[in-house]
Amino acid sequence: MRLATLDAAALAIGLTPGMTLADARAREPGLAVFEADPHADQDWLERLCDGCARYSPGVAIDPPHGLMLDISGCGHLWGGDEALAVAAVDRLERHGMRVRHAIAGTPEAAHALARFPSGPAPDEDAAVRRLPVEALRLEPESAQALRRAGLRTLGDLAARPASALAARFGEEAVDALHALLGLGHRPLSPRRPRPAIRVERRFAEPMGSTAHALKILEEMAAQAGERLAERAQGGRRFEALFFRSDGLAFPLRVETSLPVRDAPAIMRLFREKIDGLSDPLDPGFGFDMMRLTVAAADPLVPTQLALEGGEARKQESVAALVDRLSIRAGRAGVQRLVPRDSHIPEQAQLALPAIESRAPAIWTSRSEPGNPPLRPLHLFDPPQPIEVVALAPDGPPHRFRWRRTLHEVSRYEGPERIAPEWWLAKGGEIAGDSVGRTRDYYRVEDARGRRYWIFRHGIQGMEAAHPGWYMHGLFA
């Protein structure tokens, strides 16, 4: 096993990359060794590269461990190129990186200047000319041969005729030299996120029929589906734009809870959307262009048809129903209940749009099986005020009036005291209305057998002189 790379402290005691591990251990028994993982390094570099998109849109990876930023025209946003470089280096150092940087007119010069430290120079050209010949990135033997010939710096090389250099060391050496000196130019290939899939159709004649337009939209959806399949993705959000010849554009947006790339499924959603429009899709003088964009996509592996309608298919079809209903009734039209860690009853659950919540939540029941439930099936939010007659001011309810009907309490259980979230109180006050009051909950059954969940809001005499009563829920 050999050392792949070393940190500054290790280099300082004389270890070098390529040394065998046994030798290195012999020289420094306390050596901390980690297995090299080039893939993880590459992933990390890509993440850093994406993070640097904040400085410039042209960011490229400079393998094996460099980043190249094209900052032409970006410096003024940071108060100068040098300030931008300082900000970028600071940010990378916060991630625990040791960074060396250089700014130069060409990517190659910057690459070389960052790797081969040289003393201060009057200008960039002088600095480049002072670089050692290793900066050319030639084969090690070639660099050694150059040194033997007495050519130590790029300035020495640049003074020689290029043809002699090309004859001895090959065309690449001359190319590299010219690139470093800013005579040739190699473009940077920046790392960019994959663009959204977009399918466009232009028509020679404006098209006057909506049915025909939808037919074409289906073809476009099929085309988008093919491109999604190439990326092993499925669309989560589709946007269709109908451009009318008089300049009006109709946008239609649909969203799905599971990624899809099946054209008929996409079209079903668009038809649903069109059915639900308050203004029908009016072609007017005709549509002259249509555009379908996949605004959001998620990984979707190629599916295999289940043999006999297995579990996966079942789920998919409920998801399709959720999509259709959500398009008709709005995003929050179909909801799913998600538990929340709070003991305040109305805050113990969230109703989230079913189209977005994916992972099934785990609900834990406070009631033991076989015992009557302690929480109602229906919750009123906000609670509804009721009039209550109790035999004692802090006692259980005797009868109450809700929705103009008098209910005689025949059985009750309680109180279950639920304190407000006092730890959220401002300024440390304990009994104040900033976080609410203590609630005493009673499970009551009236003479006809209807079961209710009611509470007294506040402790008699402490939090309120005359605490009010509220109806908070219905049991089955």
Binding site: S317, L377, Y452
Partner: protein, 279 residues
Amino acid sequence: MADSVHTLTALRRHIAMLDRKPASDGHVRFATGHEAMDRTLDGGLARGRVHELFGTSEEEGATSGFALLLARLASDDAPLLWLRTHAASRAGGVPYGPGLAAMGLDPTRLLIGIMADDTMLLRAAVEALRCPALGALVIELRGRAPLLDLTASRRMALAAEASGVTALLLRIGGDPVPSAAETRWRVEAAPSLPLPEDPSGRIPGMSAFALTLLRRRAGRDGLEWRLVWDSEKGGFEEIAGDRRHERDGDGRAAGGADPALSGALVSLPPDRPAAGHAA
């Protein structure tokens, strides 16, 4: 005369053909757990049919709770969808996850669809009934719901039959109108049984319901039962000592308080004639 008899037989045969009785009746029914009731219903309520549940607006907790419990029995482990309108979720409160979990119904399985109005609700209901992956569908309608006519319910019944999804039509504060429902029930809350650990009977026990079978296609109607939900077993049970057609068998509290209560009630005239019609 003979002619008309002939026509009548032909028509009857035609109707029987249209009705399309399922060949095997066993697995298309789900048992409620209440033995006498299941026996009368030939093994339970039919899957893939529409069942109507009526309750006054005061009995809304019991009626919708009963609908949810029936939906759970009908659906095994498949997702449930509860369709309601914005107005309903304002008036009736929101389904509460911890309470559902306490009744033995997994809240993650429940989807709640909130529609703008009754028209949209009925359209969505037919759409949902066409989705065979759904376990059961609860459709909550409040008030008279004039849009729910014979055509609308027939459309739902056909969709339910084709997909096998059980539809529970929850009619809160509504009156029975002609419909294509398989069964029609009136649901009321019943006083719960005292808990074994509480002999004094001060504490409300497990949820109990009083059911009246108002109508049933091709079967007896006008029967009454009392059921109690057993969350441990995941089914209904008979209330011990209950006898059919006898509603005042349980506890003096109910009998004693009834007259006093009816006096104090805000009278609900539309309710009583309706019950009379149905009987």
